[in-house]
Structure formats: C-alpha cells, structure tokens
Symmetry: C2
Subunit: 402 residues, 2 copies
C-alpha cells in the first residue's frame, strides 16, 4: 500500500535503519512521508490506516514532520483550525529542496526540486567543457548552484543537499571522478571543489538517468536496464528498484562491452567496444558529419529528412547496440531495456535494427525495449530527486533544521 521504502540512491542504496526504538521511529517518519507523498492529500486517519499504526502514533509523527517543514496541513476552508484532525496533509512545497547539477561535455545545468517533485528553479550554461581543467568548470557550476539556491530560497525552500551528475566513473566515496574521458578528468575530488555547506553526492550520469527513469518514468518496472548516451554510452542496471553499483562503483559500462572483438581500438584499451560503433563520434563519422554543437539534433534532423548516410549510420549503431544488449540481457534478465538520454531522440532510427538484433539472438520472446520520456533531462532530474528521496527515506536527518 505504501510507497516502497529505501529506494536506491547513490549515497546509501537500500541502507536499512537499525532495529532500535530510534530506528523504528525514523522508519515510521519515512513511512508517513512516503505515504503522503504517494497518496496525499490524506487525513491523519487515512495515513494511520495506510501504514497500520494507531492514529495517536501517527499524529505524533505528523506533528514532528509539520514542525520540520516536511508536511503541511491543507484546510483553507477552516482557518484557525490548522492542525486539527480531519484536515488533509500534503507534502510541503516550502520545505527542503533537492539541488541537482549536471556536468555535461557541452553544458552545465542545475535545478531545484521540491518534496512534491516539482522543479522550482533552474539554470543552464552552454559551452564545451571538453579538455577544460576541473577548477574553472566547477567554479562556474558553483555559481549556477548558488543562483538556483537563491531563487529557491526566494520561494521559501531550503536546500537539503546537492547531487552532481558527471559523464564518467565515480568512486564509491561519491565524491571522486576516477575517469571522465570526454572531459579528460582523472582522479578529481569534486568534494574539494564544490561548496562544503551542503551534503554532497557525485554520481555517474547514466546512473542518475536510470534512477530518474525508476522514479519518474511511466510504468517503469523495478528490474530494467537503462541505456543512455551523452558523448559516451552508459547504462544503469536496476535490480528490484535498486541501482547496481559494482565493487568500485563502475557497474554499467555498456559502452565498453566488446561487440566485434577484433574491431577498432578504443581509448579504454579494448578493441571493438560498443562505443566504437554507437558512440556519438563513431556515428557522426559514419554519417559524414562534423563534430559541433547539438549534434544529436543534427543527426535527428538529417535522418528525418531521409539522409541515407545518416540513416545507415544510425541503423548500424542500432545493430551494435542490439549485439551488446543481447549480452547484457542474457546476464541480467531485466524486464525491459529503456533508451534514455540522447539516444531517446534518435530512437526512431536506432530501434528497428536494435530490436531485430535482440530478437534474432534470443530464443523465445525478446526483451522489450522502450524509450524514455525524460530524454536528456534524466540525469539532472535523477540527481535532484535523489536528494528528495533521501529526505523521504529518512526525514529525521533534516528535521530540526527549520
């Protein structure tokens, strides 16, 4: 009945609070928040019946959540009676906000999402970050973060944490970018470069994209493989609603699955990796197009115009994706594969060959493939929502703040 608890988020996926009185109270605060978030507005009595606690117990929890600014009582028709049983509870639109940020190869973006899931402020800066040192990039990102926070504060929100999506491998400390080849960053501790006043989580953009799909996608199952692209190709493996992170935090490197073992050399050290066939540079090269801004838009435009070279390039990329995904589906047995990020905009030309390849390599029905509605927004939204989820999962961490 209640929303699932302890969804994965990059900081502490699936962590369970301890079995103490205190842990129980914190779990119950979370159950109230998730219930109101998923089903609200609800009366206290309805919350109590949803989560199977007494109304008195729920009232104590609700009072604490109202004092902390996480819940609000609606009831404009009964001024002065706010707080009385009977008036409906809703998640606050004036409490904590999750700040999400994205370091893209060609842009920086920041947004603030409130506990209701609404984007309340955003800022973007276009321009390449390829080959730039981390310091000036993060300085610009910090300026955007401050601007978004100021705007959110103007609306009565306060920042509960900052999550940053990067196009690279992130260590399990959730601070250090171990390798971001398309930025040329190595072993970069973003924690040292970003403002220290907010709880910080740095994560891989494909992972945040996958979490966004889990949380915001339409009828997304709890077991799926989310494939996305910015410049490289990444994937997020979701197992029973949790992100599979891997020992070092590097799981989901679909871009380096060998597709043709004697194919072209890849900067990763391998040969014939998926990125050599379906990565942006490979597709642009095969399509006879130049690197430049909004390349995905250009590919889509040309494909829509019927450019045969572009269409063939995308068809071949789809075939390579289908081969790599056959391996992934055999290993992971997901319910669906979801194409997100830049790939979602090219889906009409990638999907037919991708699906054909999956089908011809599979005994029985092939794994379903769908296209994300979130498109390139996924990683940014996933980052912001990961902060919001962390508050819903353990409201006690921020209560007492306001």
């Amino acid at each position: 009945m209640t929303a699932p608890l302890h969804e994965a988020h990059p900081t502490g996926s699936g962590r369970r609070l301890p079995d103490t009185q205190q842990g129980m109270r914190r779990r119950n605060l979370s159950r109230v928040m998730h219930t109101v978030s998923a089903e609200g507005p609800l009366s206290r009595a309805a919350v109590a019946s949803h989560i199977g606690l007494t109304r008195a117990a729920v009232s104590t929890l609700v009072d604490e959540l109202i004092r902390s600014g996480l819940l609000e009582e609606l009831g404009p028709e009964r001024p002065g009676r706010v707080g009385r049983p009977g008036s409906a509870l809703a998640v606050s639109g004036h409490g904590p906000a999750g700040i999400g940020a994205e370091v893209g190869v060609d842009h920086l973006a920041v947004c603030a999402v409130d506990l209701r899931g609404a984007v309340r402020a955003r800022a973007v800066r276009y321009g390449t970050n390829r080959g730039r040192a981390p310091e000036p990039v993060i300085e610009e990102l910090t300026a955007l973060v401050r601007r978004v926070i100021a705007e959110a504060e103007g609306e009565g929100l306060w920042p509960a944490g900052l999550a940053v999506a990067v196009p690279g491998l992130v260590a399990r400390d959730a601070r250090t970018v171990v390798r971001a080849p398309n930025l040329d960053w190595h072993d970069t501790d973003l924690g040292a470069l970003l403002p220290g006043e907010l709880p910080l989580t740095v994560g891989n953009e494909a992972n945040f994209g996958g979490l966004a799909e889990l949380w915001l996608g339409e009828a997304t199952p709890r077991d799926f493989l989310h494939v996305s692209a910015e410049i490289g190709i990444g994937a997020a493996v979701l197992v029973d609603g949790r992100l599979l992170r891997g020992t070092r935090g590097f799981a989901g490197e679909l871009g380096h699955v060998p597709v043709r073992p004697e194919g072209p050399e890849c900067p990763c050290g391998g040969r014939g990796c998926l990125e050599q066939y379906a990565g942006e540079e490979a597709v642009l090269r095969a399509a006879g197009l130049e690197q430049g801004e909004d390349r995905v838009g250009l590919l889509a435009e040309r494909a829509a115009q019927g450019d045969t070279k572009v269409r063939r390039a995308l068809r071949e990329a789809g075939t390579a994706l289908g081969i790599a995904l056959t391996g992934a589906v055999n290993l992971l047995d997901p319910e669906t594969v979801v194409l997100g990020g830049a790939l979602s905009g090219l889906a009409p030309w990638l999907l037919p060959s991708l699906e054909r390849e999956l089908a011809r390599r599979t005994a029985g029905p092939a794994c379903a493939v769908s296209v994300s509605r979130l498109g390139p927004e996924g990683p940014l939204l996933g980052a912001a929502h990961s902060v919001v989820r962390a508050v819903l999962d353990d409201p006690a961490v921020v209560s007492g703040r306001s």
Copy 2:
C-alpha cells in the same frame, strides 16, 4: 560481529521478516543460530554479548532452539547439568539436514548436509540423462533421495528440505524447468514429479555453484561472478552476497553472450555465442576428440601430456571466455571472477589466454580471476547448503518439528 543474516538462497533471497513482535523474535532466533554457527561453541553469555541482547532474552531463545533440536549444549564434563548457564552451545549435528540433489547431463547425485555443514550421506548414479524423459530420471533421483534420507535418519538427522540443481533455466516458482537444452527438457514441473513431503526448491546449477562459492569458498568476496560449466556454460552473479536472479529467474546466461556476432549458429537462436567457442562440445570438436564419458578428465589428461591440438582448443576457449567476461565485468564491476565446475579442472590451460584477453581489454587493473576449490561439487553442495541456510535464516520454520 554476527554472521550476515538473510543470505540469498534461491527460494527467497534476502527476504526480511516483518517488523512485528513475532518477526523480531524470529530474527533474534536467526541471529543466535548464525552467531553460534559462525563463532561457536559459545556460552550463552558470549552469544548475548555478540548479538547485543540481554542474557535472559538469549536464554529464552536458546532454550527454544535446543527444544527444536537446532542447538546442543556441550558439557560432557558436567553430566546432569546440561542446560545450565556456562556450558557451551553448538549447532546440532543431530537436527535438521539439508538434502541437495543434482540432475547432471551424465549423472545424478544426492547428499545430506547437517547444520554444521558436514556432508553426512551421499549417493551418486553415473549414466547419461541426455534425451531421456524427465519421469524416469526423476524416479531414479527420488530413489537416491530416499536412500540418502534413510542414511541421514540413521544418524539422527531429519530432512528439512530438498533443493535440486538442474542444468537449465528455472522459472521463479523454483519448481519448473523452463528449458534444459542438454537434457532436452522443456516446461517440466519437477514439483509434480518429486516426493511432495519436503519443502522443494529447484534451481539452476550455476546459481547453486555460485552460492556454494559464497558460503564455502576461501575468502570469497560478496561481489563476484561465478562461471561454471557442465555441458553448457553458466554464470552466477553475486551482488553484495545475494544472487541476482533476473525478472524470469534467467540471469547469468553467460554462455549466450555474443562473442563474434557473425560466428556459428547456436541452438539458442543467436550466432557466435560463448558456448560456440568454449562450450564442451565446441572444445572437444576443436581438440579432435570424441564425445564420451569424463570428457573433462580426458581434456585435462591430454593437455597435461602436451597435446598441442587440445592445448590450442583450450587456449581459444580461454580467449572466448575472456571476451565474454570483459563485457560482463564492464556491466557488473565484480570484485573477482571465479571459475568453477568443470572449468576449474581445465583452469591451467584456460586461464592464461582468458586473463590476457581481460587485461588487454581493460584500462587500469583487470578484474582478478580465481579458481574454485569446490570444482564440480559446487552445485550439489550449494543446493544442500541452501536448505541449511534457510534453517539458519528462519529457525522458527522448522522449530516444533522435533
């Protein structure tokens, strides 16, 4: 301090007991069992301090576990004072036993393992099962199961459950063999063919092999990929000590990861699957050997004698394994890859090319590869131990039995 609770087992991996008084009691019974199992013999006071409960609370739990035949008090030096505080507790060697069974392509095997992890009875029948109907095979298996149970009962044990390892895909109902190509079984409900008096779990042999490695291997990490072979090639994906099962229960089909996308046709419907290069038939064919009994032994013998054709066949199989594992490691980021089953006996000739392939396709240090000590025993032991683990995870299910 205490052993990890709720290890994955094929029936209900990671299931957590509910947050009720009753659920708490059952969790605490499990904590006592796991503590004594991992650290025993221990006094009641030591158990109490290990799990952080009062000595009185622990004594109540221990008394229940002794009554149920799951724990024993040691203390031969104090006859007549059994049950008094101070005497050491041990897991019973006369209580419940896990019955493991394996349907191999060339053999049937059954064993009984007590709560201490000791194999107390076993029975094997050699002879091919390829192409035989399920009914007579399961009839023979049932006869072996009955013989092993009778032997175990003669030693004061009683069967707590039966787990059966099969070389094929098993549905999530843990009864139905959806597809076992090397037996030629399809949609076979083993639950209807096996004796109904014991709780039954049917599982994939590679999965049971992976669990055996987790539970019984030497210093096995909690995140690893276990690769095994009987006739086909299977894998078990262990994530944080849990088996990744997949939506339909089919995860770990490493044998059908495409290695050379335009390679030979595979019965699965694909082309160039790993099994076409590293499966037993492919290796025997490449080595110029006939099918027959103990083919793995024959390959190992010839390779040890320096037969160049056999060595080349194994080297090429290792290369194909390395290519498929590069993809798997990129997707899953495990701590290690463990070669088990028949592959462990051929490791000296497979490993060099396998490791070379992994290393040359990986930026940074390649994933470590090790060889299981359990060898072809893994699936059978994993099956029996899965029953034992289920008892340790929820002793209340069997208490009251004796």
